[in-house]
């Protein structure tokens, strides 16, 4: 079943609403660290909508990218041409990220738990993995040093798990006093956007909390697509559908071949 076919009456795909809902979170963000895959199109959409002055930062050493085409990976020549600055990777991680200059970052995850701890390393035991995943890349230091961490991923019982197999990037500990004393620029993810809804993290417990469900999605569906009983916000709402302009930008300008949205 294709992604678009899951909700034909809505006129957009699950990927498209994920992208649009994520991009809207970047309003008032100045610098955003962009990851591989979906975050690439999210940040490029935000730059064309809610956050025109957004500086796109790539771990490949680019600050203030103005890509003329959708980058094919986080290292693409279109990121270099016309950028504000190209730095060594040391400078990017040390002077920009570690020094606290990065307002927001997007991370993906193969597994996430209720506190936003992220696994991108292995499924199964480390020494004898069932699936070897790519590993940290810059994710571990991004999770610790970006001021806000936003997660974008598809949701299911294999990805939203009670216990992750490996903690690549730390999230909330479950003890807010501990989190506040860490002294990191960030301290666990601030939001999660999936194909079913959007989540924030509870101030008192650090636990992931369902804030909105996407149009046509029930809380029951969300419950069935995760490995723990989710905390649900008292004022649970519905995610705003992607606007015509957001859909036009995604389909005509940003991803005409459907690389990220099919």
């Amino acid at each position: 079943m294709s992604d678009a076919a899951t909700a034909p009456e809505l006129g957009y795909s699950k990927s498209e609403i994920m992208i649009a809902a994520s991009a809207r979170q970047l309003v008032s963000v100045t610098n955003c660290f962009v990851g591989v895959g979906l975050p690439n199109i999210v940040c490029n959409l935000a730059q064309r909508t809610v956050s025109p002055d957004l500086q796109l930062v790539y771990e490949s050493g680019v600050f203030g990218a103005r890509p003329e085409r959708l980058p094919l990976s986080i290292g693409d020549p279109t990121l270099a041409t016309g950028a504000t600055a190209i730095t060594s990777m040391f400078e990017l991680f040390a002077y920009y990220l570690q020094a606290g200059l990065i307002d927001a970052a997007f991370l993906g995850a193969a597994q996430i738990d209720r506190f936003g701890n992220i696994n991108t390393t292995v499924i199964g035991a480390y020494a004898n993995p069932k699936v070897r995943l790519p590993g940290s890349g810059g994710a571990c230091e991004i999770a610790i040093n970006a001021r806000q961490v936003m997660v974008i991923m598809r949701q299911g019982t294999r990805s939203f798990v009670d216990r992750i197999d490996f903690r690549t990037s730390p999230g909330h500990s479950g003890d807010p006093a501990h989190d506040a004393a860490r002294g990191w620029w960030g301290s666990g993810p601030t939001s999660v956007v999936t194909d079913l809804g959007t989540y924030a993290f509870d101030d008192a417990t650090g636990e992931m909390t369902l804030r909105t469900v996407h149009p046509g999605v029930s809380v029951e569906q969300v419950r069935e697509s995760m490995g723990w009983e989710p905390r649900v916000a008292e004022d649970l709402g519905e995610t705003a559908a992607p606007s015509d302009e957001e859909l036009r930008l995604i389909r005509e300008e940003l991803d005409p071949l459907g690389v990220y949205t099919k």
Partner: protein
């Protein structure tokens, strides 16, 4: 008169890359010298420890060809596409043999090169807190600042590979190399390594380098051999010379899924060619024309003449 270090890829690899060496073919998505990896495969090197932040398709090819015993890395995937199947087969199924791994995060790997280049015993960073990565790599250790605040940091050890192979857009005969676009860790890897091969798109006169010294990433003083090898980074890219061949990265995902199709590809494109020039010719002129970008010139700065 500066030394002339110009060599063929065959001779540079034959002289400078030895069985059992640790080898860094660096370049973060950009300037990854595939041609050097292919030559190492042709010459049948064995038991190499391959180091790179992102092993990329080139290390998948080298691991499949049996040159490597160990991988040191921070992100093992096909960028923008998915998995590296030959490496996964070795790690998940020991097929056809086990592959030792040692993994870091990007910042950890970058700082290993920085420590190696700066002759430091370790480098401190604010990463790895409450992560499981240090529990599977004893080379990542916590340390308290010796100064008053006692901040906890994690430290990583220096990486000084036996050989670094770095690609540059242009270099002169003594190895002074200039790079623009994504810089990756080319400079840090070259300064950290015991032996250095610079590969370039164009060999230029020393005067070209001297006209724009800010652009020199690697000085010839740390370089052992210089190889002129156009299109050496394919399917990776060289800013201003050719684009990333994304279709190839996607195709590699299919080729590498089965070891038979992967070996057939190596037989045809690497072992079936005697050098990178033949690979370029086999790919055909139209293919290279399709990867050439429109120009976007930087303009010039005035250094001034102070005679």
């Amino acid at each position: 008169m500066a030394a002339d270090k110009v060599a063929t890829m065959h001779d540079a690899v034959a002289t400078l890359v030895r069985d059992g060496d640790s080898v860094s073919i660096e370049g973060f998505t950009h300037l990854i010298c595939f041609a050097a990896g292919h030559e190492i495969i042709r010459q049948g090197r064995r038991d190499l420890t391959l180091c790179r932040l992102t092993p990329d398709v080139i290390y998948d090819q080298m691991v499949a060809a049996g040159v490597a015993r160990k991988l040191v890395f921070s992100w093992v995937g096909n960028p923008g596409v998915g998995s590296l199947h030959a490496i996964r087969r070795r790690i998940e199924h020991e097929d056809p043999a086990p592959l030792e791994i040692e993994e870091y995060s990007h910042f950890g790997m970058v700082c290993r090169y920085v420590a190696g280049a700066a002759n430091l015993p370790f480098f401190p960073i604010r990463s790895y807190y409450e992560s499981d990565i240090p529990s599977v790599n004893q080379n990542i250790r916590p340390m308290r600042s010796p100064f008053d605040d006692g901040t906890e940091v994690y430290v990583v050890p220096p990486l000084q590979p036996d050989v670094a192979i770095v690609h540059a857009q242009r270099a002169d005969a003594s190895g002074d190399a200039q790079i623009w676009g994504l810089l990756g860790c080319q400079k840090e890897a070259a300064f950290a390594a015991k032996r250095v091969i610079v590969v370039c798109e164009e060999l230029v006169e020393e005067s070209v380098i001297r006209r724009d010294p800010n652009r020199t990433a690697i000085p010839g003083v740390v370089v052992d051999a210089v190889v002129e090898e156009p299109f050496a980074c394919h399917p990776s890219f060289a800013q201003g010379y050719y684009d990333r061949d994304n279709a190839f990265y996607l195709k590699w995902d299919e080729i590498a899924r089965e070891s038979d199709t992967l070996q057939a590809w190596l037989d045809e494109w690497v072992l079936g060619t005697s050098n990178h020039g033949e690979y370029v010719e086999m790919m055909g002129a139209a293919h290279w024309d399709g990867l050439r970008p429109e120009p976007a010139l930087s303009g010039e700065v005035d250094y001034g003449r102070y005679a």
